[in-house]
């Protein structure tokens, strides 16, 4: 137990009157905040989704002149207002927009953008600057600062096969569930269950860590499997990985699970060639799965407690390339979806196609401001220790 934890615990045990005021400074600030029942679902579109063909600026002549073969015509798209429309694959997104359940943020990015998928995704997941390397993710650091009684791996769940970097903290990691069957088989291992109880190896930090992780895995898995049993979705989801993942998430949310953050990924957006067909196909997967998910959480009137953030590691080059595709770019569009939005519709102006850097869109809002806003306004947490001091966006949620 470190000093800070010790003092925090003893202040709870004895009442803070007995704690000298100079020690109060060591208390974890977030310990005072109750964690509400707001749920965040982060949806990562891997590969670099092309924002300009997602949210289409159909009044902009430059859009058509820079993309003679792949610009979407106004008549093909789903109109949002007199200037802006959505990719034809996103019919459910349009409904959400019409119902006031969507906030669209334009030109989200960061300074000195990196054009590697891998590095740029790393920057988004760790919320690092372009020239620094962080080993922990922003959700992981959110878990790190939760008060001890809430600091459990299942407070943030990732349904992918490997734990996403975003969910890695320094004291605690989020929980990764590739498969409920595997979790059940672990729980059936009586040998390990017997061994996990109260084990601490005072001489070996690594060994203690293994046992702590094992013990947390058992308790989180027990908890999640129990919750998983208590609600069965009646909604039909598309038969693909994203559909399965969102169904799992909706079931846990509907079962009133403590989990605050869910993380999910969809791939296929690296459209260097024949972009129109490919992007339509993968956006359709997102749109259909989203449709089922929202219906599902609405059945229990939980849409007001759920915020979905849809992002991609970068947008794409404004001009098309020679293969009817687009290359890696920079700033991009980001969607926030919830029944409880304060800002509805288009939050800020569309990208300025006359003012590009190396053929790419300039960012006007740092993605870390979006994180800071969500952490503060939605998850009721001080964002400064998690992502640093960023201006929060006014009136989002």
């Amino acid at each position: 137990m470190n000093r800070r934890k010790f003092i925090y615990t003893s202040s709870l045990a004895t009442g803070s009157v007995f704690i000298p005021s100079f020690l109060k400074a060591f208390e974890t600030p977030s310990a005072k905040l109750a964690v509400g029942n707001k749920k965040l679902v982060v949806m990562q579109l891997s590969g670099g989704n092309d924002g300009l063909n997602t949210l289409v600026p159909f009044r902009n002549d430059l859009y058509y002149s820079l993309r003679p073969d792949i610009a979407l015509k106004r008549s093909e798209t789903l109109l949002l207002n007199d200037d802006i429309s959505l990719n034809p694959a996103l019919s459910e997104f349009r409904n959400l927009y019409d119902e006031g359940h969507m906030c669209i943020l334009n030109n989200i990015g960061y300074p000195n953008p990196d054009y590697s998928h891998f590095r740029s995704m790393d920057i988004w997941q760790t919320a690092s600057a372009t020239n620094t390397i962080e080993t922990t993710g922003w959700i992981g650091r959110y878990l790190d600062q939760l008060p001890d009684h809430l600091k459990k791996p299942h407070m943030a769940i990732d349904f992918s096969r490997t734990l996403n970097t975003a969910l890695k903290g320094s004291e605690i990691n989020g929980f990764s569930i590739p498969d409920y069957g595997l979790m059940s088989s672990l729980l059936s291992n009586k040998l390990l269950r017997k061994k996990k109880a109260n084990f601490h190896d005072h001489h070996n930090d690594s060994n203690s860590y293994l046992h702590k992780t094992l013990s947390e895995t058992f308790s989180s898995a027990d908890y999640i499997l129990e919750k998983n049993k208590s609600f069965r979705s009646k909604i039909t989801y598309p038969n693909n990985v994203l559909g399965k993942d969102l169904k799992n998430i909706a079931e846990l949310i509907n079962a009133n699970t403590d989990t605050n953050v869910y993380y999910v990924s969809a791939a296929g957006f690296d459209t260097h060639a024949n972009q129109l067909k490919q992007q339509y196909r993968y956006l359709k997967i997102v749109d259909e799965a989203m449709d089922a998910f929202i219906k599902d959480i609405k059945t229990n009137n939980l849409f007001n407690d759920v915020l979905i953030m849809v992002f991609s590691e970068f947008g794409r080059r404004v001009a098309q390339n020679a293969s009817n595709g687009t290359d890696h770019g920079a700033a991009n569009v980001l969607f926030l979806i919830s029944g409880a939005l304060k800002s509805k519709g288009i939050y800020n102006p569309l990208p300025d196609l006359t003012n590009l850097i190396d053929g790419n869109l300039k960012y006007t809002i740092d993605f870390k401001s979006v994180y800071a806003t969500i952490l503060s306004k939605w998850l009721s947490t001080d964002p400064s220790k998690i992502v640093g001091n960023w201006n929060q966006l006014a009136n989002i949620v």
Binding site: F118, R161, P178, L192, K195, S206, Y209, E216, D270
Partner: protein, 463 residues
Amino acid sequence: MNNTFLTPREAQHLHWRAGFGVPPLKWQEKKFDLEEELEQIFIPVKFFEEIKTIPTEKFDEMSMQPKEMASMQTGVAEKKDKAFQGGVSFDFFKLMNNPKNTFREKMSLFWLNLFACQPETPLAGQQFLNTIRKNALGDFKTLLREVVKHPVMLHYLSARRNKKQSPNENLARELMELFTLGRGNYTEGDVKEASRALTGWSYKDSSFKFEANFHDLEEKTIFGKRGNFDGDSLLDLILSKYDCAHYVTNRICKEFINYNISPSAVKIYSKIFFDSGYDICKLMRTIFTSKEFYKPENTGTQIKSPFDLLAGIALVSDLKFNNSHIFLDLQRNLGQEIFKPPNVAGWATGKGWINNNTLTLRLNLPDTFFKKKKLSFMLNNSLNQSYNNNEINNGAYYVSDWSSLNLRFNHLNSLDLPQHLLDYLIPSDLKFIDTFLPLDYSHSINPTEVAIKIMSLPEYQLC
């Protein structure tokens, strides 16, 4: 060392840190001669064999020429890519338990993490891996030069974008921060000036190429020294700094001795490394013969990397994979895909290997291999379509052979067997063996059955 003999526990410690454990038939419960063990460990210095999984002459379509940006791949190309990638890493894996290779491959795993890099094609990966392997036991100066000038690294760190007119600091920064000096031993100004020295470094096909047109010929000031430095003289400047020897030694000590090694111990080793002119074997021999290395607080402290774990299991059970896709997916699910480190800083080792998912998978591996069960990631095949269902259903994805282990331990009676196997497989003292291993003594138990139980304990994750 006061004497040149090692206890079995010390010998096991040495072989785990220099390799992947002691093979069952070599295990003895009496003293080991240190010099004899070291002689065996250093055998690979005399041998080097390239990995040639991908026959380069036949695959010109997989040119080393890295694409400007990763181009979109069709499903077919992706599968082929995956098969080759899995194939190269599997051939690497197979060499790990060959006594002519073990220590070379162990050091190569370390260098692959220090020089973290993501080759764009399996062939590029094979060539980069061979460059690392070839120089893994030589001198660090050559290793550094060959790695940093390798087309794969130059591409990865955007060297071609670093031009006299428009410098790109990527290569210079990572070179100093991650490969040689570490933060605090250079200034931002040094990074800027070093980028200028590195201008002109480029590649054509699979070879380094100097583009004189892009090179900045003006004077630069690096580490307070003024001169008309180019990339090679920049490397000389870096290597002439003791800080470089200290940084690399510190990284080595943290992996090979203890994540929490004392700074004073590191200083002793790094001085020897620097004075030897960066002789890697000299440093490693110094470590393996030092008192510090064998202190009880430095044994059983390290969490095995996924490759350590798999190679260790293979040494005991002669594990082989018949499907390179599955081997690749296993790496991915354990968090160490050999050509895909998480970022330029490489894999976070130690606790970084462990989360609920990787730990669960790790604890289940020995039993899964033995019983030829499906691994978790093979279950959702209908959704992921990663494997041929016939391959999965006929159980031919891996084979293991536990006969050496049985042969070595089957003379023991049921009461003695668990403790003997525990001593062989686990590097730390387990005092609560009865609670850990509730074995049914009513029937005779065989060594494999007990070994698999022990290998499923969290303690088996340590070395």
